[in-house]
């Protein structure tokens, strides 16, 4: 009833390729931004800002990164967390060694460093496909984790192997409060998400998807496979690197290399699968889902008294995550984002059932 596009004629190609061609979607998105930028910082408490919403945003960014590589380009990576680690440690080392550098610059350097490492480990993917690449990224995962644990230079010879992010100040303003950190993350993530959306709906995104869907045909139509794959690796790793820097600076403040282990990589892969392979919106939905589900489970089990131990809950989480992955891949590989799309399509016809 309310969700009709009748009467909204697109008279230019520019209007047709807008991110939200339908007016109702534009309004909804504006409201969402308003809520995220104004209402939430005013209303949400410290716990929600610091421990739920900020990590959801950081994970969303990492998930966008992985989605570019896996969802759009079809190259499976199991080393996302390692590329985050590269970002976190690059930003830290730059700040420690050159304290004059503004932290925003070091975030960019974090992305660039991760992109470089991503290209390095992506090189084998030029000769191999599919799960062979998964092995190359697993190699990155184990090697980088080991490197940051065993080579003291990276942690500035910290005895505990832990790095503590220096304080973030910009033009005299110090990002200390939960609100300021949340808003900082939100700004970075929104800008980078829009950039990602722009890439995937342009020439670059079509090249990525062409490689994913039918690489031989893509090459026969003039797409340089090597360059396209490496670009996907670089852009994907850049996003992961920035996410890693945010993880260390904005969310935790103090991190050890083990925070970026292979299980973290799987976690981000699950966000992408559940949210939707090949969807920027899905990356947000998946991140929110995976962060919120354990909170939900913990609260739900509280209803049954303390019958379930924390350990059992952790195992049940594994069962639920694993089960959900299978269900989504079997039923709807395009994830929550696709379900949302289906809802919208139904809404257009509502109240008619066909």
């Amino acid at each position: 009833m309310f969700y009709r596009e009748t009467g909204q004629y697109k008279t230019t190609y520019a209007a047709d390729r807008a991110i939200f061609p339908i007016r109702q979607d534009r309004v909804a998105f504006a409201v969402l931004l308003l809520v995220a930028f104004v209402a939430i910082p005013l209303l949400a408490n410290e716990y929600w800002l610091r421990s739920v919403l900020t990590p959801v945003l950081v994970f969303s960014l990492a998930a966008i990164g992985l989605n570019i590589l896996t969802g759009y380009t079809g190259q499976l990576s199991l080393g996302t967390a390692a590329f985050m680690a590269v970002g976190a440690f690059a930003a830290y080392n730059l700040e420690v060694r050159v304290p004059e550098v503004p932290f925003l610059v070091s975030f960019v350097v974090a992305g660039l460093a991760a992109a470089g490492v991503g290209i390095l480990f992506g090189l084998p993917s030029l000769r191999i496909k599919g799960f062979y690449l998964a092995v190359a990224t697993l190699a990155a995962q184990f090697f980088i984790e080991w490197l940051f644990t065993h080579v003291g230079w990276f942690t500035n010879y910290s005895t505990s192997g832990v790095i503590t992010a220096p304080p973030m100040t910009l033009l005299g303003f110090s990002f200390e409060s939960a609100e300021s950190r949340y808003l900082l993350t939100l700004c970075i993530v929104v800008v980078m998400a829009v950039m990602a959306k722009n890439m995937v709906r342009s020439e670059l995104g079509r090249a990525w998807m062409a490689v994913r869907d039918m690489d031989i045909a893509a090459e026969a139509i003039g797409i340089n496979l090597m360059k396209t794959k490496l670009t996907a690796f670089a852009v994907s790793s850049f996003y992961c690197g920035v996410a890693g820097a945010l993880w260390a600076y904005v969310y935790l403040g103090t991190v050890e290399p083990q925070a970026f282990d292979v299980l973290r990589s799987f976690e981000i892969l699950f966000m992408v699968i559940i949210g939707g392979l090949g969807s920027i919106l899905g990356s947000f939905l998946g991140a929110a889902f995976i962060v919120l589900l354990p909170i939900f489970i913990a609260n739900a089990s509280g209803v049954f008294g303390d019958a379930l131990s924390a350990e059992t809950i952790a195992h049940l989480e594994f069962v639920i995550f694993g089960g959900l992955i299978i269900v989504f891949l079997v039923v709807e590989p395009r994830g929550l984002a696709r379900l949302w799309q289906i809802v919208k399509e139904k809404l257009r016809l509502w109240p008619f059932p066909y």
Binding site: V135, A136, F143, I273, F318, I325, I326
Partner: protein, 296 residues
């Protein structure tokens, strides 16, 4: 001279422990050959089988009965996986199938530990765990027995594939899915069968490994080493899985002993993967794999 003996000792120790990787890789290869699925959950199946076996054992069942029950559980699992998961994913790309097996790995890991708990279970199968002097070289007796078990299992599988009807059907499917279908080999049954065989292999691996390390979560992580083993040996080759396992076992021990002291140790975690990367660069199909020819 002592240095040579020491080298040989490390080498033999590595080779023997490599047979364990071979065992897990064997499960991978079987499933890959029959269904084209890279089963990431193979390592978790090892853990799951070991947990189930120990769990049943601790309920008071004799070892043989526990083994039979565990095997039955693995067959049911194979059936469920085929019926509930892969039957519905027939035309999906391999990468999606692979991701589904990651989901399966999480599911089994959670399920196994929810049912049987997380504490480390001791598993004593009466395999002697003492050093044995072969001349001047010290070898673990346990590893020798384990290697013998692996050899026996590979032999038995060889006989199974060559002489039984089901074994021949499996080989037929591995060679050519379409042709196998057209002469009336029921693909669904073959899938169940091969996942069951892989389950059996996982059980054997779980028993041997469990009695060495204790039955615990880390088993499924150690089994991740089977992935570089397959890359090195080739995805489609059983001899490749064996040789790949030996190479990984020997090289990671040698690297740890001879390079480890210079870089602070812990090389074992990533060395096999880097080795696999090198092999990928030079020979993407692995040492024993079939050359990948893409038809256009």
């Amino acid at each position: 001279m002592d240095e040579l003996y020491f080298f040989l000792e490390v080498l033999i120790g590595g080779l023997l422990s490599g047979t364990m990787y071979s065992l897990v890789a064997l499960g991978f290869v079987l499933i890959y050959k029959a269904s084209g699925i890279f089963n990431f959950a193979q390592g978790t199946m090892v853990l799951f089988a070991a947990l189930t076996f120990v769990g049943v054992l601790e309920l008071g069942a004799p070892a043989l009965l526990a083994a039979v029950i565990t095997l039955a559980v693995m067959v049911v699992l194979a059936f469920a996986v085929e019926r509930l998961v892969f039957r519905h994913m027939v035309n999906q790309p391999q990468v999606i199938l692979f991701m589904a097996t990651i989901g399966l790995a999480y599911f089994l890991e959670g399920l196994g530990q929810t049912v049987w708990g997380t504490e480390v279970h001791v598993l004593d199968l009466g395999i002697p765990d003492r050093g044995l002097w072969l001349g001047p070289i010290l070898v673990s007796q346990f590893d020798l027995v384990a290697a013998a078990v692996v050899a026996g299992l590979v032999g038995a599988l060889g006989v199974f594939f060559r002489t039984t009807t089901m074994g021949r059907a499996l080989r037929g499917v591995a060679d050519d899915h379409q042709a196998a279908l057209s002469i009336g080999i029921p693909l669904h049954h073959v899938w169940v069968a091969v996942w069951s065989v892989a389950g059996f292999v996982a059980l054997v691996a779980g028993l041997v490994w469990g009695s060495k390390l204790g039955v615990q979560f880390s088993i499924s992580l150690v089994a991740l080493k089977a992935i570089p083993v397959m890359i090195i040996g080739g995805f489609t080759s059983i001899p490749g899985a064996i040789v790949g396992g030996l190479i990984v076992g020997a090289s990671e021990k040698l690297a740890e002993v001879y390079l480890g002291p210079f870089v602070g140790g812990g090389l074992e975690n990533w060395f096999p993967y880097m080795l696999a990367m090198l092999v990928l660069m030079v020979r993407p199909e692995g040492l024993f794999g079939e050359k990948i020819i893409e038809r256009v």
